[in-house]
Amino acid sequence: MKIIVLIKQVPGTSNVRMDPKTGAMVRDPSDTVLNPLDEHAIAEAVRLKEGLPGARVTALTMGPPAALKVLREACARGADNGCLLSHRAFGGSDTIATSRVLAAAIRKLGSFDLILAGEKATDGETGQTGPMTATMLDIPVVTFARRLELKDSGAINVLRLVEEGSEELEVSLPALVTVVREINNPPLPTLRKHVLAKKLSFPVWGPEEIGLKETETGLKGSPTRVAKVFSPKFARATVFHRADSEAGAFEAVAAVLNILKARDLLNKGDKI
């Protein structure tokens, strides 16, 4: 059994602060982490592997050279090896161009049975790269998986979280599954594996290695363009009430009721 996990390096959230003028999130560019949902994808791949002698887990990521760090983390969490897709020509890729690169790299890696990915990344929050990559590989995709079981018959059973409940599906392999947080509690990397992962080296592939033209990747290979980036109206004209006295509290309550009334929000909730 060969399992591939798609992972992504995303900006960290430990040291974010807000620009007081624009309200934009300011982040330390060196503060990057493994996308939190990918921890669950890796943990699931490793869990499946442990029940199957000879199974292997390969982590795959596209990103800057520094993204080697998340491949190392994937190996510290139990992946066997990894591969970095990194090249100047990949810069500015949208989800279509990213998926094209990932699909080409997966083909180059050879045969596989299962691809796992986090449902979305915390930076782009599109959730599109998983389904698009599967489509480009011409394999089925199951999104929002919260439980995954291998069947003997070369298929998987997946419980998929949807708006009103969950759907149970049987899907033939190979397939791509995107996972939600509820699927598992990822164990922390062990110190021993962490040390071993530090010694690993990973292949780094550009367009040539995966058989793509530079024009098929990056900004040139992306059907979408960012036309404008702006800060949402952040600073609101806040009306303040001091509720440190009975009278103040009374006025504050009245103000809230007025807002509920003005916005037609008083007709919900418990009947008294």
Binding site: M18, G23, M25, T95, I96, S99, T122, D123, E125, T126, Q128, P131, M132, T135, P140, V142, T143, F144, V162, E163, E164, G165, E167, E168, L169, E170, V171, S172, T224, R225, V226, A227, K228, V229, P232, F234, A235, R236, T238, F240, H241, R242, A243, D244, A249, E251, A252, V253, A254, A255, L257, N258, I259, L260, R263, L265, K268, G269, D270, K271
Partner: protein, 342 residues
């Protein structure tokens, strides 16, 4: 009117029923189709809906019933195949779908097969009058930045759209349109996925993300008993109950209630933060709320920077007072100054 290059809305169904989110999508579609002077199309894939006519009364000019009754439920591969076949035949300029689990699964598959652009989870759509291109605006990095995306060269231009970003149009009983049946080659094919069962979640926590009002509690609620005051407040308001990370870690609320960068994103009509300090990680999960009320003892709490109404005071006390006033109001009693005379 050019029948090619229409605006196509992908309908969301639940068995034989239409989901109300369709009417919001038709409102967006109608706005775009009106600006482009093209028809507004709506597609129902695979299921046999009872009230296709309703889609016309809510704005569609043409409703495509694609291979009705051919699929037992949500099966991504065949549904996406029907969508791609329809797009190839009617060649819409724009395709939109609600950013639900279905829309967020089907549209990426279709966009990849059509090698065209797709923008996720848009909160605003408009047409650029200079080039008639679709302007797709979405929050990025947890709502701290808005990005407007275009798909200049490939067709169709595709977007998933966040529910509750627009009001449905007023239903027009006299509106006429066409219901068109399409059959594409699904018969006899087998699909890689098989639907085994559907488990309805009776105590689903999705009520938080879909709520018109969200009440969220943070550290300023001080303890678990106080936090329960927010359950009462949420109950009387019909609100979804959320929590900050601190409140979740203190065990006052389950993780499924956490709002923020590592939790859920909410965008209700009204957000009430009780004892919420407003760390950036939490703000990322609620900043696109329409109206924000913040209650906090600390007048310098960052939540006040994003609030429309700020109440400086003890959050548990205020929560209890609000609940009592709302109960009084619902009983038909006179709420204090609820007519606006403050």
């Amino acid at each position: 009117m050019n029948n090619d290059n229409s605006v196509l809305v992908l309908a969301e169904t639940r068995g034989r029923r239409l989901h109300p989110v369709n009417f919001e999508m038709l409102a967006w579609g109608s706005k775009l189709a009106g600006q482009l002077e093209v028809p507004l199309d709506c597609a129902v894939l695979g299921s046999e809906v009872e009230e296709a006519d309703e889609l016309i009364k809510q704005g569609a000019d043409r409703v495509f019933l694609v291979s009705p009754g051919s699929l037992p439920g949500f099966l991504a591969t065949p549904l996406a195949s029907l969508l791609v076949d329809l797009i190839r035949e009617i060649k819409p300029a724009i395709v939109i779908a609600p950013a639900t689990t279905s829309g967020r699964t089907l549209l990426p598959i279709a966009a990849a097969r059509l090698a065209t652009g797709l923008t996720a989870d848009c909160t605003e759509l408009s047409i650029d009058p200079k080039d008639n291109l679709l302007l797709q605006t979405r929050p990025a990095i947890g709502g701290n930045i808005m990005a407007t995306i275009k798909t200049p060269l490939t067709r169709p231009q595709m977007a998933t759209v966040r529910p509750r970003t627009i009001r449905p149009l007023t239903r027009d009983e006299s509106k006429r349109g066409d219901i068109i049946f399409k059959q594409y080659g699904l018969q006899g094919k087998t699909w890689p996925e098989k639907l085994l069962a559907f488990h309805r979640d009776e105590n689903s926590d999705n009520t938080l993300e879909g709520a018109d009002i969200v009440v969220a509690g943070g550290k300023g609620m001080k303890n678990k008993d106080n936090f329960r005051l927010l359950e009462d407040l949420a109950g009387v308001l019909g609100a979804g109950l959320g929590a900050t990370r601190v409140a979740v870690e203190a065990g006052w609320a389950p993780f499924s209630r956490q709002i923020g960068l590592t939790g859920k994103t909410v965008a209700p009509k009204l957000y009430i933060g009780a004892g919420v300090a407003g760390k950036i990680q939490h703000l990322a999960g609620m900043i696109t709320s329409e109206y924000i009320i913040a209650i906090n003892e600390d007048k310098d709490a960052p939540i006040f920077k994003v609030a429309d109404l700020g109440i400086i005071g003890d959050a548990p006390t205020m929560a209890a007072k609000l609940t009592a006033a709302l109960r009084e109001f619902k009983r038909g009693g006179s709420a204090p100054n609820a007519d606006g005379a403050i």
